[in-house]
Symmetry: D2
């Protein structure tokens, strides 16, 4: 497959849904369009280019609104995040990416909306009625070029010190289709693998490497330039072979992003941050949670 | 011509240089590659989709450096800006575009580097040795959606009050070719016409509308999505006709921009701002000017 | 009076309310504490150091909340702004100050919340049901050192071109008392005079200079350092005379501001922007207006 | 001592230099005024309110310039930092504080100027001639309220994983005197103790807690409000006792900062970041280092 995508649903679509060992179901009773793809076998994982696991994809999220009608969408996403998490224990939320590069900033920006609660505990919290909060730590490890430390190393060292029950990693994704930018959310329990996401990680972030469940949440913000070209020109897979020889070398590693990427990143970050809060603090009502982060 | 470009040199290249009434010359003795295109006739203007006038294009500007070796490039650009300006009188420098939309922000960001000097005058300036400064006013009129005022209206009202000898307008441009983004500068004396630039202006900004010379300076920061697709796939003009029917509707108004757009915009703004300062304050030495804006 | 304050109510308080020709009344039926001070005579104006006119002061505004309980406060402020404005005609809203200096940024930041509507008109607006909007233009003229243009010159040139029915100017203020920073709003119909505000204007902005009503809205964000010193040490007016000789020279022009000035400025800007929108667009309901600016 | 200060030199001055067990010397041959205070005994440490150790204080640093004449100052500071560090081994540089609160942001902002080099190693670095670089990691741990993790916990977990030879912590400080804000740098080898700095740390950061040398570098950005009041009014220590009863309760925890704090923080961060780079990368020449971070 020559299309680059971080969305398992797009990879599945590429094979017209004919992937042995992978199972796609539409989520019912949802206010938003959503699917669950389970990759059962290693062979299916290889065919789709994604690790075994469960991938929930929310589509057509109208993020352009002012969040007054976002409640049902946020709660639907929160439900799926909560379902993949252990039912109790503290959580480490991690925003991957470079906050200074707009299309890569959705991870760090999301963490600005996530309520850190690990330090609110003990007698004082009980007295204030805050002992209902699930303990949450929040970090943005930055990027290797600016820190000299792999995000994975920093996360692993914190996991060893804080002993969370699970990690939530948030990252910007690449999709095949421009129409998905900013309005699709993917949640999965297989973590982050090297080479995925908009940034470039050499360190795998999953249950195997960290020893605890790793839930990845992402929104596509970029499209690979060659993928875009084919998509715009509506080139079919066979035509692509013919055109393959015509591809100019400079486009090989180029990534494109829409003009309104600043706005799209802000909204996506607020959507994810809000959904993570609702997933983690289910004993606090929606309006209170939203007022705490705005 | 189905390629959208704000660069006259690209439009000229599209016709393989065969445009009657237009004259292209390479600028000699330059440390950077530069051309001067003069559009002499209305017929040539129509063929190229650009008003009559002089267009200087600097190419392959290495903006990725730290400005320690930028001196010769900045001075070369400054020379051409100065050449198009009246030799004396005050100048109004205008940064067009939306500072909150990264690819459209190069105008407002450039003005942050331009030295405003109109208010430094009189006895005090003479005593301080600052009466050598050319009077300059600097504004960023913002965008219609945020101000309710056309940039052109705001500029015209200031021209009527301040009576500058000329206006310099700085704007982000669209190019045909990805490889030009951030490393090409176009200077022209024909102003800004509606529909050009990355933003959308309904008000013409030229000598006819403002009554004084209007020098436009721009750097391409975006490529039209369809143009990009053809460029990436190296589609020839004839092949394009065949593929025309395959173009998906959603791409019609889409604009794309590279991932490192934040960095590219910052550097482009500093390059233009520095060149404008050098063009206007020729009695101040280069190092002093650069130190005042960093 | 050696205390510097831009708040007429504080100046009135300094004289223990004994100012002939000035009349102070508490506004009734308000959810927030508010007073109206009318300065009737030139003599009272001189004694108070403020031009003749009406000054409404809202106190103890709890800006630290999340704006979910801000509705009544915003509407109360909006009522007073609307009362001072002409009942019809377009409005020019102006944010004075330097957006890059936190305590001086409240004007420009407020304008980011004000809806520009002047360009939404004609057949299209009628069809969309938007012809109920009052036409509003919004600008931030910047500061003299960065533009070379006095804010007053820019406003006057726009008033001459746009012919608004009134101008609203928003500015950061200096108060005498630290406890007022960020939680007091002053509205007046006497405009802005040179030397007031946190910035420094040489150009008067009032009905006389602009030819139309000028409503000023401000929030104190700084305290003069000497004023602060006396306030903290609770020095009475007579004690002050004794201490006068001890004042160190360096503090003469120093201005101080609280640590949380970033947050305070953001909230103050949103409060003023929202109140101005509610004052101007009284045909649109509160929730819709708030959703348009968040 | 009722004056709050994080500067050991100011504490020493408070006692008119008469502190048994503490030794103050002026640094000679310096282009900037600088002193070295060594606190030898526990008794002196108690009297001065600072842990035993060496404190170098640079004064009257003209940070308002454009860094073209900053070279000698930066190199003088770098020499003292280097002197306190182990001569080899990797370094972890840490910026303490909240990047969103201007007067507290000097730590995180400084780290943006510090070159991370730990990831540049091996065969590739040798081939590129970069094996001369001392390995440096750089982090900004954020603040407890936003992360749920004490800065000290995060640093300790990274120290255990990365095994640096020493830690450099950068923090905003409180001084007694307004005239020191932004133009004094303190370097010490005693780390950071709870309650110092502008932020509030509960976790001690020193050789005892981290097991390796901890060099603290700071610039004062705030003055305690009561300290300021006494300073402005030039109140002597005896007068202070009399005035003590007049202090208004609200000022107890108030902190003040100058109006130009945004500019001051930017420049201070660049000064410290540059000095740390020069201290750590002594095999790279000054101009190259400066060009890499601008």
């Amino acid at each position: 497959m020559q299309f680059r995508t971080d969305l398992a649903a797009e990879a599945h679509q590429f094979w017209n849904g004919e992937v042995e060992g992978a199972e796609l179901t539409e989520l019912e009773n949802k206010v938003v369009k959503a699917t669950r793809l389970i990759i059962h076998t290693e062979k299916a994982a290889e065919q789709l280019g994604k690790p075994k696991g469960t991938y929930i994809t929310f589509e057509n999220l109208a993020l352009s609104d002012d969040f007054t009608d976002a409640k049902e969408k946020i709660l639907a996403i929160a439900d799926e995040i909560r379902f993949l998490l252990p039912s109790s224990g503290s959580i480490l939320a991690v925003g991957l990416g470079n906050i200074n590069t707009t299309p890569d900033a959705i991870g760090p920006k999301s963490t600005q909306y996530i309520l850190a609660t690990r330090h609110i505990q003990g007698e004082w919290a009980r007295a204030a009625g805050l002992d209902i909060l699930r303990p949450v730590s929040v970090i943005s490890p930055g990027v290797l070029g600016q820190t000299g430390i792999e995000a994975g190393e920093m996360i692993l060292s914190l996991v060893e010190r804080l002993h969370p029950a699970a990690v939530i990693v948030i990252d910007a994704l690449a999709s095949r289709n421009l129409s998905r930018l900013g309005c699709t959310v993917q949640i999965c329990d297989s973590g982050i693998v090297p080479g995925s996401g908009v940034g470039n990680y050499r360190f795998k972030l999953d249950k195997e490497s960290l020893g605890i469940p790793v839930i990845a949440v992402g929104i596509p913000t970029v499209v690979d330039a060659l993928t875009l070209a084919c998509d715009i020109l509506n080139i079919t897979d066979s035509a692509d072979e013919i055109l393959g020889s015509k591809i100019t070398p400079q486009s090989e590693n180029m990534i494109v992003t829409p003009r309104e990427i600043d706005l799209l990143t802000e909204r996506g970050a607020k959507l994810i941050g809000s959904a993570v809060n609702c997933a983690l603090q289910s004993s606090v009502d929606y309006n209170t949670l939203m007022s705490l982060v705005s």
